[in-house]
Symmetry: D2
Subunit: 382 residues, 4 copies
């Protein structure tokens, strides 16, 4: 696809998702880690304005000089910014203004494409589009968090069916011990944290070709999984007790029956569906209970070609650390991934909310072990 | 005015103020003590639905059974409710739904008036209308807080001029010591906390017939008022240091000059205008600095007939406590005032944001000594 | 008693109490508001060193220049100081060093008395001795708090019987409405907050000549007092719920029977004994439940001559505010009382832990309404 | 050494260290993560009483049944326990009682050794002794933390010289890429987290045979290391800003010169001495500034034979995760290490405070990346 069509197509997907939002839905931040829809719309636009238009397009006039402060996320190199926990305090600029901002930037981006830009700049556009796709997924999970914590359990869109979520395979995959090459080796787009191809010794292992289901996890719950401290990491056990956790996020027991909030509303839990919205502590405790374990990210990557994956972000047992030979780029773009490499675990795969064409087997997603508002799942290894 | 006209008139004033809000403005809660506009709109309506329509109108069908949970403020007698700090998490029900709720309840209230209700119920309607007027003032101060803490300092309405805020008098009023009667003695509406007429011995005193101005307060600031601990109450001094307070709320020093945020935007501080947005600790420190003091609420009430008052809520030196013979009503209405009688100070007067016909000289407003988002001011006594 | 004997006698009482402490007991701070014994010993000594010896005794050599920083409590005029919540972090200077400090200062104080000091300085010594007596009471209540929160419920001294705590009277006292003079009018020592004699109109009232007993309060508990929100002030209800309060401080239900921790160990609750260790919210809720009320501090003072008082600090319904004509002294001594006049309630009387000769009917004790580690009680008024 | 002699020798080392403590030093807990000396003394004793004497010695009579509650650290399998942050609230049992407890348990342990116990039990004794040695190191670092945060900077023991802390080597060590075996392969004592010998592919690398010195780190500080966000992990940067960090722990700038608190008192920083008391974020930022990196724990272990190590706990770039084939033991002993495997980084080496015979090249120490009260250091890799 040529760049201007690709640009327009990806940018449009963000807008399409928003068509089901009410005006007030755009503005609210319920929890620190989930940003308002308005902010996602503006921030992804700010990325193109800041790194392409202001930097590279002659004569470009900034849309509004306040926006750099308002819509910078975490790029210290680009100046000061609104604290993440205050993003929901901004009723202004209005959503209408932000849509106008998107239009303005899009129009100039199309102009920019006419200038026949160098490959290096097109690579930066590609980073911006991948960035937008990441925020498309966050937009879904953040809206779900907001509506799922509303006492009315509102239906976002009754036809919105994110879930292709039954296992299709029942077998396991066996891999032989060897030294394998890990990391992105193709020529397309990837993030810097996938680079630094390197060798890793991987032992013999056998990995499930299917994910843990709601029914499997209910068995763990019913066996007292949430009250047996021997199954839990120390921090996980503290979390279970402090938050009084009894079930995955979005699960509610109503008249003795488990229900789950989805973007199409509250539904009975389908035991055959793939489990979602558990954190690393829960994934690890479940594995412990089964007498199995989570895969390392290297095992996962080695096995990936033979696996049926792509419905859930799968917790691995690997901490998110730099690959040998990891090189941060200079300046703001270098802040994209590297600085988050502490106290996070790697997730591999892709979820039902992941944008199309935004997954690959070397992709390293990462979250703090306590987080569970993403569409996360469990795959076990023996 | 007959009751249905009065009802419609007061209800309409709430709507009129909202005409300048953008859709996102309705939904956001920036700080625990300031509720979203949407919530004010719904809660004042809930009051009439709960205490009149559901209780007294035969055949009335509740608009939505969830609303009792969502829009109860603090009435424990009426069931569980959303925590005050979570009111801003509700993007739904939408503002449109809440306007429909208002219309529905208003229509039934008009029907109710046709039933020729007893005086006791009309008194309850009166309480509801006074309640709505209180929320009209909170609506203004809460919207001001939200926009005033937005980095863009948005103009709410450039023609919105709340401020008739120059002193007109320059004299003082002398009162002779005597035993005076305190409390509401007329036949109109008043709150329960004004009742219990009782005698209070009031000493000789001389009270200013004017309020402290911005210029007066600037002199205090420039004399180091915020850094001289001898002027401050212990809790006030802790607050100044913890919050690094240097000026009244909404004041910003820009290029060496003091500006103040107003609902018509950021303006230079007018030294002749009456000071606003200071808390009790600041009022008390200022009085200390001047070698004067704040009036007691009894002194204020005794002097009120001779005073030019009504631009600011004036901090008194009286704690908010029950009058002798204070009687709480039974049930939810009894929760209106009495249970807040600890750790608050009484304010007398009325502010530029107070609804018309919602002030009287026996009115006892009350806030925690640290609060300053209301239009508060200082009157001194010798 | 001549001054040097009086000085030695009061200073010795502090030491006597400490004879039952173990070495580790001196050092620990369990909670922000309760200081370690070591700190009380040093701070009361620091008072004499700072305000008398360093200021007035020629040639006096400071014991240790660090002590001003370590043992200043809250006197901003005397320089910076250790935060109250960090007093328990100081294992050094050792208790032995602090006893040596006391000896050193005492020796120089006796020298000072030989210099035939002026009355103004003797008044300051008197303030220091009253200050020491206040800390003697705090020493008792702070040690009780520390040991009472130790899982072993240690016996401080099995013969330590603070409690002369049965009511002796059963009658009530009637007072006629009139304008009364309030405040200290004698010639002896009093605190500045008792001065400013002034007139107060006090209505007719009838006050109990006895305090609420454990048995009375148990009836309130058994009637569901802690779960009926209508009885509670809003802040009190929040406190009950946040802290899951079910009984007075130091009460423990063991095998279905109520016990109470005392300095002579854990004992069964004696229903005839006078209730202790309840806060203002509890006192107020109890009064509400009885259909009575707490006295104002003015009523209490007017009735005091006819009352049997002195076993408990009795919560009044009066906020702690300056009397008319209250004058703060200049400098550090002026910080003694005045700056605490917000968000506190007045208690009148004296407790079983109050030092001898340290009570009078005009004495205004004050604590935040939530505090209950003092020996507090309830007297009711109709 | 035969077991009873070894037991007595290691137990005595704990006592020896304490000979310099003042009575109050035993009782205080300054910060959540640093336990009082008294608690260390009791807890190490509790370990032997619980896992050996109560479990295995016929007719053993428990010293005090409360001690299981008081001195359990984190073993959920052994019942409820005092929260770590409340360990400093216990003035009782007194230090004397705890020494008596040690004597009692020691006497019975010697009896136990006479019973000719099975190897499995002797292994458990060995675990207990290694456990005691770990607490000997914590005792030193916790006492240092307490005294180092006392405004008097007390000298613990002026002859206490923990520091053999100059680098002796100046060279680097080169290692060739290969698949290496990692984990403990000898027959002596090791922790469970070192077991599960497994292969790891390690690339070519060159590692310094010396640690970063104070002088090296001063250069980083003077070059603005603490204010250049590009050098820091995101969480590290947040920590630097929240805590206003400007230097390693225990460093104080006095009259323009850097000093450091040591157990022999405050001293000028020696530029040639090895740096200590920095956390992982600081270690990582320093490496970033040097254009180098920290070693992985595998690189460290492979290189260890050729390295001069043992003065500091050296931060590695490896997260603390289970080795392949890691097996937790059943019951309480299984809680020793495994449950801490999240959000920690591995440190290798040994520090000046590490007990003799308590280090080996496969030892995996672990702390949260923000912690720096241990004697931690930095070794760099190219």
């Amino acid at each position: 696809m040529i760049i201007n069509e690709k640009y327009q197509s990806i940018r449009q997907q963000t807008i399409d998702f928003c068509s089901h939002l009410h005006p007030e839905d755009y503005a609210i931040q319920v929890v620190k880690f989930a940003s308002p829809a308005k902010w996602h719309l503006a921030h992804t636009t700010w990325f193109f304005e800041t790194f392409i238009l202001k930097a590279e397009l002659d004569g470009y006039v900034e849309y509004d000089s306040n926006f750099n402060f308002l819509f910078n996320s975490y790029y210290n190199n680009v100046g000061s910014r609104v604290l993440q926990s205050n993003r929901g305090n901004m009723s202004r600029p209005s959503t209408n203004t932000i849509f106008a901002y998107r239009d303005y930037v899009d129009k100039h981006m199309l102009d920019f494409f006419e200038t026949n830009p160098k490959q290096k700049l097109l690579d930066l556009v590609d980073l911006g589009l991948n960035h937008e796709q990441q925020h498309q997924e966050l937009l879904i999970t953040d809206v779900k968090y907001m509506l799922g914590h509303n006492a009315l359990f509102p239906v976002f869109n009754k036809d919105f069916n994110l879930v292709k979520d039954k296992n299709t395979a029942v077998d396991t995959v066996k891999i032989s011990a060897d030294v394998y090459k890990i990391g992105y080796q193709d020529r397309g787009f990837c993030y810097d944290n996938e680079l630094g191809v390197h060798k890793v010794y991987v032992p013999d292992f056998e990995i499930n070709n299917f994910l843990v289901t709601n029914g499997d996890y209910l068995a763990f719950m019913e066996a007292g999984g949430y009250s047996d401290f021997n199954l839990w990491l120390d921090e996980g056990w503290a979390w279970v007790n402090a938050e009084q956790i009894k079930a995955p996020m979005y699960w509610h027991q109503i008249d003795g029956e488990w229900h789950v909030y989805t973007l199409s509303g509250l539904q009975k839990v389908d035991k055959n569906a793939v489990l979602s919205h558990i954190n690393f502590y829960e994934a690890n405790a479940y594995a412990e209970w089964k007498g199995m374990r989570l895969p390392t990210e290297f095992e996962w990557e080695v096995a990936a070609q033979k696996l049926d994956w792509g419905k859930r972000w799968e917790w691995t047992s690997s901490a998110y650390l730099p690959y040998p030979n990891f090189v941060k780029e200079n300046g703001a773009v270098g802040e994209y991934n590297g600085k988050f490499m502490s106290n996070k675990m790697v997730l591999r795969g892709a979820s039902v909310a992941t944008s199309q064409n935004h997954s690959r087997k070397t992709y390293r997603n990462f979250f703090h072990p306590s987080e569970r508002w993403q569409f996360t799942g469990i795959r076990l290894v023996k």
